[in-house]
Amino acid sequence: MTIMDNIWIDVGALEDIPRQGARLVKTAAGCVALFRTKNDQVFALDDKCPHRGGPLSQGIVHGNAVTCPLHNWVINLETGLAQGADEGEVKTFVVRTEAGRILLEASKFVRNKDAA
């Protein structure tokens, strides 16, 4: 357990992401895509489609899902699971919105100094 546990980082305002759109957060562990739905729910997922690694942040957001821009897999934003006949899973991250700010849990993204 490190000191970063339960520390939340402010990565930006809700308004920075268009409704039914997505933005990227660059981290040491790769890009994380933040999605904002029509109802202002925010989800954070690896920006990597389980099919062939397509950048999910570039897809069309609809309901609580995103359609991958490369071959149209549909990924559920809540579970990270591919929908329909396709099988695969994307890593999801905990995300909070508070007073219009978006917060990610820091421990998931820190670079371990020793490894660096």
């Binding site: 000191i3 759109g21 957060v25 820190v110």
Partner: protein, 823 residues
């Protein structure tokens, strides 16, 4: 070892034989086909709907190129076999190509009979046998004028109706006193004549053609000008179609020393006098008979397949045949034998006011022939009795009234179909019986006529049994069958694209949320299928009013570049008409170096593609390109992509017009306009067509007298030559027509539907009517387009390079890479 099978001719009969062969014994033969026609196998029966414009050529193709590839068939298109060497077992084509065979299948079909009158060789004298004949007629029909069809049989009348539908003045000249005298008696012939005259087709019977007249042209090129009859009457003609009969094409078989008579003589297993040579189709003669309809040929084809695989089975026998005249709105059916003969009787029903005529020919209490005119709904019932040889003495009194009376009370139309036995043949062309269709509907859950066509082939050829197939669907599915069912746009609605487009305008729906509310979308906020479509429909319906919804666009259109497999982008600047200069090239080179762009490649549309650009670099790349005057080429959108050109009169010794200049003009006027799907154009300076205009969405071929405008080509998943739209004299007219055409497409097209698919759906004639015939409408379409261009012609790259638009797209929201764990 696989044996070699060579086939001469690639018509419907050998096509079916090979289909059966590949099903029964795939890999047994290495197949090579020679076809004098430069194309794959198509449904010859359906040439008449192609001529009349009710179908397109693609719709009648039976086997596309892929089929030959899949089955390992070598198809020599456009190569006519001129000799068979039976000793060496080889065939040789006109161009010297040879092929060796273990088994040879001759399927050369028939040749149209040409009456030996003076003038028969003139330009403009056509026959009616293959697609080239249809194309020749279509070209002639473009300029309207007069057509004379010689021959009032099935083929001649279909040609006449087709040419009439294409806007020509048509006269049918027939030798006998009544039309179709081989199938109809005088009374029915008279009704038919009246039905044609109602369609403004002139019919002259007892008319013997004496001569075909030529034009006198100072340049020496002469073509047909008219037809003179025996009695001296002269009829004006811009084309003459001879449809006076066919004879089996047995010439090469005869030269090779095979036994021939009228046709190539075969036994009941379709073997010729040489044991290694089989023959099939219209070229054969069996028992003194030759054949001109598909049903018996398909039966022959099955036997040929069995023979080639050594399967055996029943031999060929003559059966009663049925035909229908394929002229829309004229219902005529005939079956069996209806010649007068000793011991034969007739039952005739005439209802002159309804235009109905029915005639049954009876022999020994059996029906041997039937002619139905005006009401052919009972045709399959009668045909079944002919084939079965049913004893009709019990129901003779009411026989002519059909199945409705034969078994008591039956009023609805599907009752006739319901009473048919399971082995009743529904589709004569493909030999599909009722039981097969019903089983396919039930077992495979088929719900539409297209499904049935795909699974059983029933009604896929001449289509005259479509009604029966629909009734079988209705009988099998009950209320679940809805003939008019439309395909829903997506899972969020039951409405189809056409309905949604109509409602957007009718209800003045001007935003996506309003539309979803009003049209009761079942999802919250739509899906990735409907949103881009709705966004386009809104944009094209409400130019200047609707605010583009970026989030409803596919990524490429959202960021104005093409996403690549690794998440990088490609950037294609516009090169108007494919013309560039050193300064532009230098700017492109500099950008490629500065941003370390890995690949620089020429596209198929005459411009340069920079591939592998990082998303965050896009605005800077655009800024540099903009500085050199380069703007977005929209290579990523459902918009006007490119206008390819050749160098035309600027440089080319063959050029007839300034093709480059026209291409640039079109592109400058039309760029930036959103369309249902991408639009690619081309302009060629002469018919040599170096810019490949005839496979584009819109193509222009310059000629000395002006510009030929073509459209609805395809060269992608589908390959299709363009359709001719019109000929105009000036560049201004060319632009007006093209713009009007594209605007009509913008208003009617379904999202993602390319121009050729739209044209197929709405019909080429309706498009011609709107953009060519109705000059007023053309003008309005042009103006609507010009208006909407006011709102679409600003370079999307410039706006983003300057950071005015969508800055959020190109930068990450946060960068946590430098964040380190605190101890």
């Amino acid at each position: 070892m696989t044996s070699r099978l060579v086939v001469i001719g690639n018509g419907m009969a050998p096509g079916r034989a090979l289909e059966r062969l590949f099903e029964a014994a795939p890999g047994t033969y290495d197949v090579t086909i020679f076809n004098a026609e430069p194309r794959t196998n198509y449904d010859r029966i359906l040439l008449s709907p192609v001529l009349s414009g009710e179908k397109s050529y693609e719709e009648i193709v039976i086997h596309g190129d892929a089929w030959y590839e899949q089955n390992g068939v070598k198809l020599h298109k456009g190569k006519k076999v001129v000799a068979i060497d039976r000793a060496a077992k080889t065939v040789t084509a006109e161009d010297g190509t040879t092929a060796a065979y273990d088994k040879l299948l001759i399927a050369t079909g028939s040749v149209p009979f040409i009456i030996p009158v003076p003038g028969r060789d003139l330009a403009g004298v056509l026959t009616y046998r293959d697609l080239d004949d249809v194309n020749a007629m279509l070209i002639a029909a473009e300029n309207g004028g007069h057509a004379v069809v010689i021959g009032g049989g099935l083929l001649g009348l279909e040609a006449a109706a087709g040419l009439k539908a294409r806007g020509m003045e048509v006269t049918v000249v027939h030798l006998m006193p009544t039309l179709m005298e081989r199938q109809l008696d005088a009374a029915a012939g008279g009704l038919l004549k009246r039905a044609l005259e109602d369609r403004a087709i002139k019919v002259i019977t007892k008319a013997n053609t004496k001569e075909i007249l030529a034009t006198h042209d100072s340049r020496g090129s002469t073509r047909v000008r008219g037809v003179v009859l025996d009695d001296g009457a002269e009829i004006a003609a811009d084309i003459v179609v001879m449809a006076v009969g066919i004879r089996p094409n047995a010439a090469i078989a005869k030269e090779a020393g095979l036994e021939t008579n009228r046709g190539i003589v075969v036994d009941e297993r379709l073997r010729t006098s040489d044991p290694d040579i089989l023959a099939v189709g219209e070229c054969v003669e069996f028992n003194g008979n030759v054949y001109g309809l598909v049903a018996p040929l398909y039966e022959q084809a099955n036997i040929v397949s069995n023979e080639l695989t050594g399967l055996g089975g029943a031999g060929f026998t003559d059966k009663a045949l049925a035909t229908k005249l394929k002229v829309t709105g004229v219902d005529l059916f005939s079956a069996g034998d209806f010649a007068d003969a000793e011991g034969r009787e007739e039952i005739v029903l005439r209802d002159a006011t309804r235009g109905v005529y029915k005639r049954l020919v009876l022999e020994d209490d059996k029906v041997v022939g039937a002619v139905l005119f005006g009401d052919t709904s009972d045709s399959s019932w009668f045909f079944q009795h002919i084939k079965d040889g049913t004893d009709i003495s019990e129901m003779r009194d009411t026989l002519i009234f059909g199945p409705a009376y034969a078994g008591g009370t039956q009023a609805d139309p599907s009752a006739a179909v319901a009473t048919l036995p399971t082995d009743a043949e529904i589709c004569g062309c493909n030999g599909v019986c009722k039981g097969t269709i019903v089983a396919a509907i039930n077992d495979q859950g088929l719900t539409s006529i297209d499904d049935v066509r795909a699974h059983t082939k029933a009604s896929a050829s001449c289509g005259t049994c479509s009604g029966l197939v629909e009734q079988l669907l209705a009988l099998s599915l009950g209320d679940a069958y809805d003939a008019a069912a439309v395909r829903a746009m997506c899972g969020c609605t039951e409405l189809g694209h056409a309905e949604v487009r109509r409602l957007i305008v009718a209800k003045e729906l001007k935003s996506i949320p309003d539309l979803m509310q009003e049209l009761e979308w079942t999802s919250s906020g739509g899906c990735a299928k409907c949103r881009p479509a709705l966004n386009y429909y809104m944009l094209s319906s409400w130019p200047g009013e609707y605010v583009d919804d970026n989030q409803s666009r596919f990524i490429n259109e959202r960021v104005h570049a093409n996403i690549q497999k690794d998440g990088t982008y490609s950037v294609v600047p516009r090169m108007w008409g494919g013309v560039t200069n050193p300064q532009e090239l230098r700017a492109i080179a500099d950008v490629a170096e500065k941003f370390e762009i890995p690949t620089v490649k020429c596209t198929g549309g005459q411009r340069i593609d920079l591939l592998g650009v990082k998303k965050e670099d896009l605005p800077a790349v655009w800024a540099d390109l903009n500085a050199a005057g380069l703007v977005s080429g929209h290579a990523y959108g459902k918009v006007l992509r490119t206008v390819k050109t050749c160098v035309g009169t600027d440089w080319c010794r063959f050029g007839t017009q300034d093709s480059t200049g026209l291409g640039v003009r079109i592109e400058k006027f039309m760029w930036g306009s959103w369309t249902p799907a991408k639009v690619k154009m081309a302009v060629s300076g002469c018919p040599r067509n170096c810019s490949e205009a005839t496979c584009k969405d819109v193509g222009v071929i310059c000629v000395d007298s002006g510009f030929e405008i073509h459209f609805a080509g395809a060269a992608g998943l589908d390959i299709k030559g363009t359709e001719f739209l019109c000929h105009v004299k000036t560049e201004d007219e060319a632009i007006e027509v093209i713009v009007a055409l594209v605007q009509l497409y913008r208003e009617q097209g379904h999202y993602l539907e390319r121009i050729y698919k739209w044209a197929k759906r709405v019909g080429i004639e309706s498009i011609q009517a709107a953009v060519i015939v109705d000059v007023e409408r053309r003008r309005r379409l042009f103006e609507a387009f010009a208006f909407s261009q006011k709102f679409s012609q600003s370079d999307p790259w410039a706006e983003r390079a300057r950071g005015i638009k969508d800055a959020h797209e190109f930068a990450p929201m946060a960068d946590l890479t430098r964040m380190e764990a605190a101890e």
